[in-house]
Amino acid sequence: MTTRGIDFKALSLKDALDLAVLIEQEAKDRYEEFAAQMDQHRTPEAAKFFRFMALNEAKHGEELAARRATLFGAAPVAVTPAMIFDIEAPDYDAARAFMSPRKAMEAALASEVKAHAFFMAALPSIQDQGVKLLFQELSGEEVQHQDLVKAELAKLPPDSGLSDEDFVDEPAAQ
């Protein structure tokens, strides 16, 4: 989780909203990648969950983009995807072939915790009151997302305590 070239002290509300949209987009793309990886490695339940997460991130991104459009219309975008690295997107290392739904959900939960930490860490540097409120709101939403994932986790049967890796064959030759 890193950023490059973002001056949080000087961040405007327009740029903050654009940044938030990009963060959601990055997470959506990563979950779609993970779903494709799970399809490739015959792990349909984890793929289904990652698609569910991708949809959630897309929905949140659309809401933020609509808000940006209402407030700032077609004003040019000054932030780029190159400025953010894995803010809400799960780390590539979090995926595993044949991972259980529980492991998939735990990976998503860790990402939501990471995103919350990002907004909280940025808050002290922010000068603009509107941006501060937005980041507080977004950090709160990350907590809601954590609750959403926890609710999905609660639907699963109790954890057997066994590792998924004890039951899998080696990946097929590529």
Binding site: E33, P81, A82, D93, A173
Partner: protein, 291 residues
């Protein structure tokens, strides 16, 4: 076209879905490459990406650049030929540690001494992953694999020392433990005018040892800039490179402050010089006609 377009990482991503094992370090490496190429801003049709054989050598297919997944160990000679045939192309070569330092090990020295303007990215996972876990040239001594059941008796090749010793003008190391730094390092390597080598410690989640996974790599990683390393100091770079396998130093080990002329540049100069007094193509047969 290239002067007025701004490219984003997604512009370099092809529709082909990677089939690496989930969790493989190469997923981060390809992201780092997309981001570096976006920062460079050359359009995909001005880039050629050449690889050998292995898991990591699938990488050209996952980009929108021209790609050639060649034969084992031969990424560099083919990349060299492409660069000489069309010096305007941005040429990248990639592969694994086995492809680069075993099967293709003999080629690196010659690209370095010629200083061909190519960026060579090695995804070093210290194992042959595609063929299911055999000892590779960078596997640590004592490593137990399917081809070293009682532990390897061999000292590993040190890719950093190897390339520095042959005189490479740019040598760096990166890792998926820090994607932002990896993208910057690849970008810097591409911008270097000459042969540039980037060793990326990219974990194999299936056959790699626990210590070589992201958590293990993070525990031994150290950024060269925080050590106060001067990348213009080749001897200091060689000193640091000796810790390969024990420490994971991330950043630029060496960047020649006065880059040598590139072979492709010299070829162009030679061609220009010789073409001055050359007979035009349409009069070439005159050489064989008695007057």
């Amino acid at each position: 076209m290239s002067a007025i377009c701004e490219y984003q990482a997604k512009d370099y991503k092809s529709d082909l879905k990677p089939i690496w094992c989930p969790g493989c370090g190469d997923y981060s490496v390809v992201q780092g490459i997309y981001r570096a190429l976006a920062a460079i801003g050359r359009p995909p049709h001005e880039i050629a990406f050449i690889s050998g054989i292995g898991c990591s050598s699938r990488i050209p297919g996952y980009t929108t650049a021209y790609g050639f997944n060649t034969v084992h160990g031969r990424a560099l000679p083919i990349a060299q030929g492409i660069k000489l045939a069309n010096p305007d192309l941005l040429v990248l070569a990639a592969g694994g540690d086995g492809d680069g330092f075993s099967i293709g090990g003999g080629h690196i020295a010659h690209l370095i001494r010629r200083n061909i303007d190519i960026t060579y990215i090695v995804m070093d996972n210290q194992i042959y992953g595609l063929t299911k876990g055999q000892l590779s040239p960078t596997s640590q001594k004592g490593r137990i694999t399917v081809t070293s059941q009682h532990g390897s008796l061999e000292e590993p090749v040190n890719p950093l020392l190897y390339t520095l010793a042959y005189g490479a003008g740019f040598v760096a190391q990166a890792s998926p433990t820090d994607l932002a730094s990896m993208a910057s390092i690849i970008e810097e390597a591409i911008r270097y005018p000459g042969f540039a080598f980037v060793n990326i410690q990219s974990p194999c989640v299936t056959y790699g040892e626990e210590a070589q996974q992201i958590k293990g790599l993070k525990a031994i990683s150290e950024n060269l800039s925080t050590l106060g390393h001067n990348p213009a100091d080749r001897l200091a770079a060689m000193d640091l490179a000796q810790q390969y396998g024990r420490k994971l130093h991330l950043g630029v080990f060496y960047r020649n402050p006065e880059p040598a002329p590139t072979y492709d540049g010299l070829i162009r100069e030679r061609q220009a010089a010789l073409s001055k007094g050359a007979i035009p193509r349409e009069r070439i047969l005159d050489l064989f006609i008695k007057k």
